[in-house]
Amino acid sequence: MSNNVATRRSWLWFLWTPLNAVQRAWAGVAGVVVFLVCLQVLPLTGAVDPKHTPPLSEVISALVSRLATPQFWEALLNTLTTWGIGLGISVAIGVVAGLLIGGIPVVREFTASTIEFLRPIPSVAFIPLAVLLYGTGRDATLLLIIYAAVWQMLIQVSYGAQDVDPVARDTARSYRFPKGFTLINVVVPTVLPYAVTGFRLSASVALILAITGELIIGTPGLGKLIVIAQESGAVASMYALVLVTGFLGLAVNVIVRMMERRVLHWHASVRREGMK
């Protein structure tokens, strides 16, 4: 790539030079270090009010003392459980509905408008209803998660099911393959890449709404701890918990992406086998 750039006579030329993998990694490390140093130094110099933003060292010590409490781990577990259940239900509904909608043209034709209407309704609109029905319990938050996370899965799976090669499907039918065989050999390989994309999107939406539900409704979990820290004026602690939610989000992203890569890799090799 570096070969493709003619010399530019500009003092900013280095911004446009391509980097190799090693340079990229170092630049990223440098970026993180600068970011952390800013978080530490800006409050100390008074550039931001230290009452509102304690220096990083204080946040970290608050985090460490949090990590020593059982309440923290309980909250983390609660958040993960709510997220997991919500995601599981969303995925199940999304896959079944997506296959029906994508696989059967008539169903697709007659549900398209309804989906177009229901999908943009913000799930948080249902918060008051959820509170009345389930109080501060987990179910209230699950309602929000499911309404938000189902769509991603459903839409992706239905795209996938639409994409199933009609020739392959007809072949399977004319050779009278058993239904299960058709499903595994014709439908699954086509739908899978779409489904993993849907799963990735659903997973991060579900996490956002899990923590949001805890924040607003008071369902036990990290979000609720943040509210408690805020109400008791434990600013450093609040920042520490926000950082934790960030790491949680990052972990979910990374793990799901790794899964995605693995599934798609398997998928690619299966496809190649199939073509021989």
Binding site: F14, L15, W16, T17, P18, L19, Q23, R24, A27, G28, V29, A30, G31, V32, V34, F35, D49, K51, H52, T53, E109, F110, T111, A112, S113, T114, F117, P120, I121, P122, S123, V124, A125, F126, I127, P128, L129, V131, L132, L133, L207, I208, I211, T212, L215, I216, G223, I226, V227, Q230, L241, V242, T245, G246, F247, L248, G249, L250, V252, N253
Partner: protein, 276 residues
């Protein structure tokens, strides 16, 4: 007339223009009508306090919202939403164009951005309250921050994906920096920018509602929670409906904008698919 002729004319009728048109309209309206009618009759005379008859909800709609609440609660919320969203769009696209063009800056900021984006946007609300209180600024800023990440990250991807040959063409014909930005970068990345903007819009709506539910004395989210707390069920339901309608209207406006700005892209894809 023989039986086969009958079948043939029936088939012709079905395939004829008018038949198709009727079927299309039917496909769009049938299920929504069935759902609404079902809701109407199954809830009629409902004794369940939480699920008042749809008739009551509809009757409550007019006095609840069209006697001043639209102007004092709803429209200010919508303006804040659009304001925050606009700020996110300008910063996200501007910064995204810069980071997408500069490998050095991108490598430098990528890990930090990856982390920041993973923080569920709603947990920023308690932090921003420290700085900005619970007024309009806080809510606009929350919306802007939340909508920023999808727009920014998608713009970066879009700018990176711009065709190398097109970049060379722009250089050879010595397009001015302004033209390079508007004609090459902005339009070239527009499919991804629109994707990011769509995700950003739904995040923005969530944040508009949540920020008002969490801490505010006015706005649509606050109003709905007030109805919930005072057990004004039909009014609360009318608020949920209103939020739904708002979501749908915004998404329709977005779709219109999308179909205009990406007309070339859909055409291009169509021609590529047809060509193969």
């Amino acid at each position: 007339m023989s039986a086969t002729e009958l079948v043939r004319t029936a088939r012709m009728k079905r395939d004829s223009g008018i038949g198709k048109q009727v079927r299309k309209v039917l496909a769009v309206v049938a299920l929504p009508i069935v759902l609404i009618v079902t809701w109407w009759f199954s809830s009629a005379g409902s004794q369940n306090f939480f699920f008042p008859p749809l008739e009551q909800i509809v009757t409550a709609f007019q006095p609840t919202w069209f006697t001043g609440a639209i102007e004092t609660e709803v429209l200010p919320s919508v303006w804040r939403l659009l304001g925050g969203y606009l700020v996110a769009g300008v910063i996200g696209i501007g910064l995204g164009a810069l980071l997408g063009s500069s490998p050095v800056l991108r490598a430098f900021t990528e890990p930090a951005l990856e982390f920041l984006r993973a923080i569920p946007p709603t947990v920023m609300i308690p932090i921003l309250i420290l700085f900005l209180g619970i007024g309009a600024e806080m809510r606009v800023v929350v919306i802007a921050i939340g909508a920023l990440w999808p727009i920014l990250l998608n713009t970066i991807e879009g700018v990176r994906a711009i065709d190398e040959v097109l970049r060379d063409t722009a250089r050879v014909y010595r397009l001015t920096p302004m033209m390079r930005f508007s004609t090459l970068i902005l339009r070239g990345a527009s499919p991804q920018i629109v994707t990011g903007a769509r995700q950003g819009l739904s995040v923005a709506i969530i944040l508009m509602v949540i920020s008002e539910m969490f801490a505010a004395q006015d706005g649509i989210g606050f109003t709905i929670i007030r109805f919930q707390k005072s057990y004004a069920m039909p009014e609360m339901w009318s608020g949920i409906l209103l939020l739904g309608v708002l979501g749908i209207v915004l998404s329709l406006i977005f779709k219109l904008f999308e179909s205009i700005s990406l007309k070339w892209y859909f055409g291009l894809r169509q021609s590529q698919r047809g060509g193969n």
